[in-house]
């Protein structure tokens, strides 16, 4: 199993795209079933991976290392650790659920599902590859299908949003590519004596360890690449536009997985490879994180479009991920290994948790938009009485999003704050402003949609159907499971956190 599991997870959807091409475009049902069928093996394997990963041992497991373009040090290198295992599961789950939700897509279904499967391969590849060349290829593969998904199946301003999304992200990618090349030429693999794209070797060699100016430059180049994806304030404005215009399943993947790739980049690339610069600029990261938290919450509160509100709430929630990352690399000596690890655990759990919570919220927006044909918060009201099941699940997801204890988001935010408080009481204190404002805008949203006198316009709306219940149940179950019993995910995550934390702990 060691050698093939990651490859199978990554390339099964790609295989699916080939099979899809062989199906005539009129056979809509066959197309949908094929897409679903090819999304299931990665899901099953990602669950197996979860249980098979030995977190006692930690480190990279299920590694593959095969020559690809040997002359320039490009290898087919794959492997997973506690950081990537939950991300792979999240990707597989959201992909499958998105495909099921997209059963209602009847406009050019063949292209739609084809792009969806291609997107899945790109996302899996980012989380599994351990070679910068491979990583970069998958990174870009994940970008282009989303461009078409927004641009073809999107809303009224879809072309503007799609182009903005692609160009913005490409700017980041270019910066990242330059940084990768600079690191490539600075490092030689001690085993072969050549330059290498091996992520682990480069991280171990610490490029530009003593050339602090260059290291700073590389740091900021990578920072831009990842920060745009997260997105960190002020690089976030592509997000509301992309979300508002994207089809429901596109929003789910965008918020659920693509944003995580940015945070993943910080944890996989920046922190282990450039520890000096990460620590040196921790205040800047923390301040941008805090701005994202508070500003994201405040701007979310000003929204009348439900989808845009949730988009801004993503800026707010991803801010906690960044705050945890910043706290973990702070130069303050009193912050010990456990404190750093708790901050990182918080950041990584928040990545997962935000994926399922926001994924659920976007699905719920889709559910209500399909019925009411509006997302304007001021046009709803009193829907809970009319749609009890939708209302209950919507409230549950909103409460999870505002960090209610008993749900996964709370544990994540708690851990981020535990870690941050030791690094900086001020930063932790400011971060709590976000807690209150987040509660305010989400409760206000609940009120405007579900509570109050019933709007007679929506008297005939039907409650959720079987397909919608099917896609939302696993997400709600996971919010509760990891909120009540977080150990199964935290043990895995912690094995990676400790490794990163050790790099930043004096005498660790």
């Amino acid at each position: 199993m060691d050698s093939w599991i990651l490859t199978t997870i990554t390339f099964t959807p790609l295989l699916g795209t080939i099979v899809l091409m062989l199906i005539p475009r009129e056979k809509v049902s066959a197309i949908k079933w094929t897409a679903l069928l090819f999304s299931l093996p990665p899901l099953a394997l990602s669950i197996i991976l979860w249980f098979a990963y030995d977190w006692h041992k930690g480190g990279m497991q299920f590694t593959v290392n095969a020559p690809w373009i040997r002359d320039i040090g490009v290898y087919y290198r794959m492997g997973v650790d506690g950081l990537s295992v939950p991300m792979i599961f999240l990707t597989a789950l959201l992909t499958t659920l998105s495909i099921i939700y997209s059963w209602i897509i009847n406009e050019r279904p063949k292209e739609y599902f084809w792009l969806f499967l291609l997107l899945a391969t790109g996302m899996f590849g980012v989380f599994t590859s351990l070679d910068y060349f491979l990583f970069y290829v998958f990174w870009e593969v994940g970008l282009i299908p989303m461009y078409f998904l927004i641009g073809i199946w999107g809303g009224a301003r879809r072309e503007y949003a799609a182009i903005k999304f692609v160009l913005y992200t490409l700017v980041g990618s270019v910066a990242m590519l330059l940084a990768i090349l600079a690191m490539y030429f600075n490092v030689t693999d001690p085993a072969t004596g050549r330059h290498t794209f091996d992520m682990m070797v480069i991280a171990a060699q610490k490029p530009f360890a003593h050339a602090h100016n260059i290291q700073s430059l590389i740091f900021w180049a990578l920072f831009i690449g990842f920060a745009i994806k997260v997105p960190v304030w002020p690089f976030h404005t592509w997000l509301p536009d992309a979300h508002v215009e994207a089809p429901t399943a596109g929003s789910v993947i965008l918020a659920g997985v693509l944003l995580k790739m940015g945070a993943y980049g910080f944890l996989r690339v920046l922190l282990p490879t450039l520890p000096w610069a990460s620590t040196h600029y921790w205040t800047a990261i923390a301040i941008l994180a805090l701005i994202s938290i508070i500003y994201g919450a405040l701007v979310a509160m000003a929204q009348t479009d439900l989808k845009k509100l949730i988009a801004y709430s993503s800026v707010n929630h991803m801010g906690y991920v960044m705050l945890g990352i910043a706290a973990a690399v702070s130069p303050i000596a009193a912050v010990n290994l456990d404190n750093r690890a708790v901050a990182l655990n918080g950041a990584m759990l928040q990545m997962f948790s935000h994926g399922i919570i926001t994924g659920a919220l976007f699905l719920l927006v889709g559910v209500i938009y399909e019925r009411a044909h509006t997302r304007n918060l001021n046009e709803f009201g009193g829907l809970w009485a009319r749609l009890p099941l939708f209302g209950s699940i919507f409230i549950t997801a909103c409460l999870a999003s505002l960090g209610l204890p008993g749900m996964s988001g709370f544990i994540a935010e708690l851990m981020v704050f535990l870690g941050t408080f030791k690094a900086s009481v001020l930063f932790a204190g400011l971060g709590t402003i976000g807690i209150v404002v987040t509660a305010a805008y989400l409760l206000w949203t609940i009120q405007r949609i579900l509570l109050g006198p019933a709007n007679p316009k929506y008297e005939k709306l039907l409650d959720m159907d079987g397909r919608e219940i099917l896609v939302l149940t696993p997400l709600v179950a996971l919010m509760l499971l990891f909120g009540l019993w977080p150990a199964p995910i935290l043990q895995i995550i912690n094995s990676s956190s400790v490794q990163i934390a050790r790099l930043f702990t004096i005498g660790g």
Binding site: Y295, V342, L404, G406, K422, Q447, L451, P486
Partner: protein
């Protein structure tokens, strides 16, 4: 039996799960399941209490802990403790919750969401009991938030009513402002000693470490223990509706009345008081610590402020709500002056008689269909059971000998007298005011003649009046566990973590307390039942009094002040931020895009007219030259010969001139 204390919150939680999923298919549409669960919890609590009491003062707390959140090489834990403090709360919560659930069968009869009501009540009980048993600040925080959630869901139970949904949101948000304090207090403790387990946090070593660690906060230097306890207290201020975060509680009366009785009078709002008691060693890190003074004075301000508002309200539930705020202030006062036992004692007695009063008011509302006491009057005849139980509970609250409230209020006054005279006088004034506004309420509701002939009052069904009788009984006897001489309650709550001073019963203080209470009753009788009421009404026309009345009636305009200084600025800020986002940040992005397009246009122009233009120019010139030169290519030999000849002549001429 204490080993199985975890069953106490678990059973109501399972009832919640069952009712949420099975609902109407369950016996009694879910009500019987909820009641059965609550009875089981009550039974276990009673067995545990009996076991503890038979052990007398040597009862060893049972502590169980399990790892919950792993991080680094440590864990955050969950666990429970069964000690005296927990047992007192267990009994209070289970008894009141059971009575309220039984009562709700009658009160909520016919409601469209009847099963959901019982589900939420069960979940609330589970969270509240979990809060009581928790031995870890993190678990306390979790349950603390969950009771808040249930409160939100139950205040907004009739969510079609805009007032109810706004009240629910207000309650959640205002208490969450407090919760941030508790959260930061928790983080402070974690930073100080690296643990959240209460047996570690409250140990003598930890407390003295935190008392010795001085932290500078702006211009002040405070011990870590003070910071932590003040953070915790800020959480209690939110939950227990202390000034300045009390504004949510009166609005919370929009919820069904059983909810007001259970959550917003007897149990959840007392959780803040309980939390202060639970973490008392952190507050009492030194004698007369800053934290204790803050607690005492916040309590005093709250007690007096809420009591004055209670004078002026006409909604039966709102009068009781302000009374609750005021009594919670009393409990805080007691804790703040070192009366750990006194505060908890008052919490217990108050729970019984205040639950009784609220359920009584619910019975009145049920029987008359109104909440406005101006439309009531003379209900004594029509609702005898409700009347008598209400009167007993009122007497208990007013502190009339020998009812429950007398003993607990006396305990607070006694402690305050020895610790801080200002607090003592505030307590005495508060006791007088309590007696006055409660008597006013009883007189206007039950005595005199009916003031609205449209109301045909009727007594409530037995399922509602039996809980009233049980609670009235407790309102009489609950104080007897803390009699002078042998104070069983104080002995029971004794803990090694605290050095508690106990003051001997003072007849003088008891006499003062009783005198002011009787004076309050008498004054209310004179003002509302005798011809003097006309004089009072005339006095009320004087402008100074009118202004004072309107100030107090409008709750010191605190809601309006918050609206102006917090809510409206917040909304303005959100709009500005969004404008900044749209026009400046996204504007920059779009400007970059626009600029790129513009530059590319310029480049396109340059490319077309200059770069390509040059290329074309060369072409044009070449072509032009070709066109001109083409004319020479005539193909006529004679012409070529002529040109050659002319050229030759020119050369000859040139060289001859040069040579010459």
């Amino acid at each position: 039996m204490s080993e199985y204390a975890w069953l106490i919150p678990l059973i109501p939680f399972l009832a919640f799960v069952a009712i949420i999923f099975a609902g109407r298919r369950l016996p009694g549409h879910g009500a019987y399941v909820a009641i059965a669960g609550m009875s089981a919890s009550l039974l276990i609590s009673l067995v545990i209490a009996a076991g503890a009491i038979t052990h007398g003062g040597h009862f060893e707390p049972v502590v169980r802990t399990a790892a919950w959140i792993p991080y680094g090489y440590s864990t955050l834990n969950v666990g429970f403790t069964v000690d005296a403090l927990a047992i007192v709360m267990l009994i209070v919560v289970t008894v009141v919750a059971l009575m309220v659930q039984v009562y709700s069968i009658g009160y909520m009869h016919g409601d469209a969401r009847y099963p959901r009501f019982f589900a939420f009540l069960s979940m609330f009980s589970a969270a509240m009991l979990g809060l009581v048993l928790a031995n870890n600040l993190l678990v306390i925080y979790i349950c603390w938030e969950l009771v808040g959630l249930c409160s939100y869901l139950l205040i907004g139970f009739w969510f079609e009513r805009p007032t109810a949904m706004r009240a629910a949101k207000k309650a959640f948000l205002v208490t969450r402002v407090g919760d941030v304090g508790l959260f930061l207090g928790m983080l402070t403790i974690y930073m100080g000693i690296g643990s959240l387990d209460l047996q570690t946090v409250l140990s003598h070593e930890s407390v003295s470490t935190m008392a010795k660690t001085i932290v500078s906060v702006g211009p002040w230097a405070l011990p870590l223990a003070a910071l932590a306890s003040l953070g915790i207290f800020w959480g209690a201020v939110g939950k227990s509706a202390q000034f300045p975060l009390h504004v949510w509680l009166p609005d919370a009366m929009e919820g069904p009345t059983p909810v007001s009785a259970l959550i917003h009078a007897a149990t959840m709002v007392a959780a803040g008081v309980y939390l202060v008691a639970r973490t008392y060693p952190l507050f009492a890190y030194s004698d007369h610590s800053i934290s204790l003074n803050v607690v005492a004075y916040t309590g005093a301000i709250t007690a007096l402020m809420a009591a004055t508002i209670g004078f002026t309200q006409y909604d039966i539930k709102r009068v009781l709500a302000y009374s609750t705020i005021s009594q919670l202030g009393f409990m805080m006062m007691g804790l703040g002056v070192g009366g750990y036992v006194a505060g908890m004692f008052h919490l217990m007695t108050h729970a019984f008689f205040k639950a009784n009063l609220f359920l009584g008011s619910g019975s009145v509302i049920h029987g008359t269909g109104t909440q406005d006491i101006r439309e009531m009057g003379g209900l004594k005849k029509h609702m005898p059971r409700t009347f008598w139980t209400f009167i007993i509970a009122t007497a208990a609250l007013a502190g009339i000998f020998p009812l429950a409230g007398f003993w607990s209020k006396d305990e607070i006054l006694l402690t305050a007298f020895h610790a801080d005279k200002t607090i003592f006088y505030a307590g005495v004034i508060g006791a007088f005011m309590t007696a006055f506004y409660m008597s006013r309420l009883c007189i206007l509701t039950f005595l005199g003649e009916p003031r609205d002939e449209h109301i045909h009052a009727h007594e409530s069904p037995r399922v509602m009046t039996v809980p009233l009788i049980v609670l009235a009984f407790l309102a009489v006897v609950a104080g007897w566990v803390g009699l002078p001489g042998k104070n069983l309650f104080a002995e029971f709550l004794h803990t090694d973590l605290l050095h508690l001073e106990h003051h001997a019963f003072s007849l003088g203080i008891a006499a003062v307390g009783t005198a002011v209470a009787l004076f309050g009753v008498l004054l209310a009788y004179i003002v509302y039942m005798t011809p003097a009421s006309r004089t009072v009404a005339a006095l009320g026309q004087i402008s100074v009094f009118r202004f004072i009345h309107s100030l107090v009636y409008n709750k010191y305009w605190l809601d309006e002040i918050y609206g102006v200084i917090i809510i409206r600025p917040l909304f303005a800020v959100t709009r500005w931020m969004f404008a900044i986002d749209r026009w400046i940040i996204d504007g920059t992005v779009n400007a970059v895009g626009w600029l790129t397009v513009a530059i590319s246009r310029v480049q396109g122009w340059v490319d077309k007219w200059i770069v390509d233009g040059l290329v074309n120019l060369i072409g044009i010139v070449t072509r032009g030259a070709g066109l001109i030169l083409r004319r020479t290519q005539t193909g006529v030999a004679q012409q070529y010969a002529m040109v050659m000849l002319l050229g030759l002549l020119a050369l000859v001429y040139f060289y001859l001139i040069r040579a010459g």
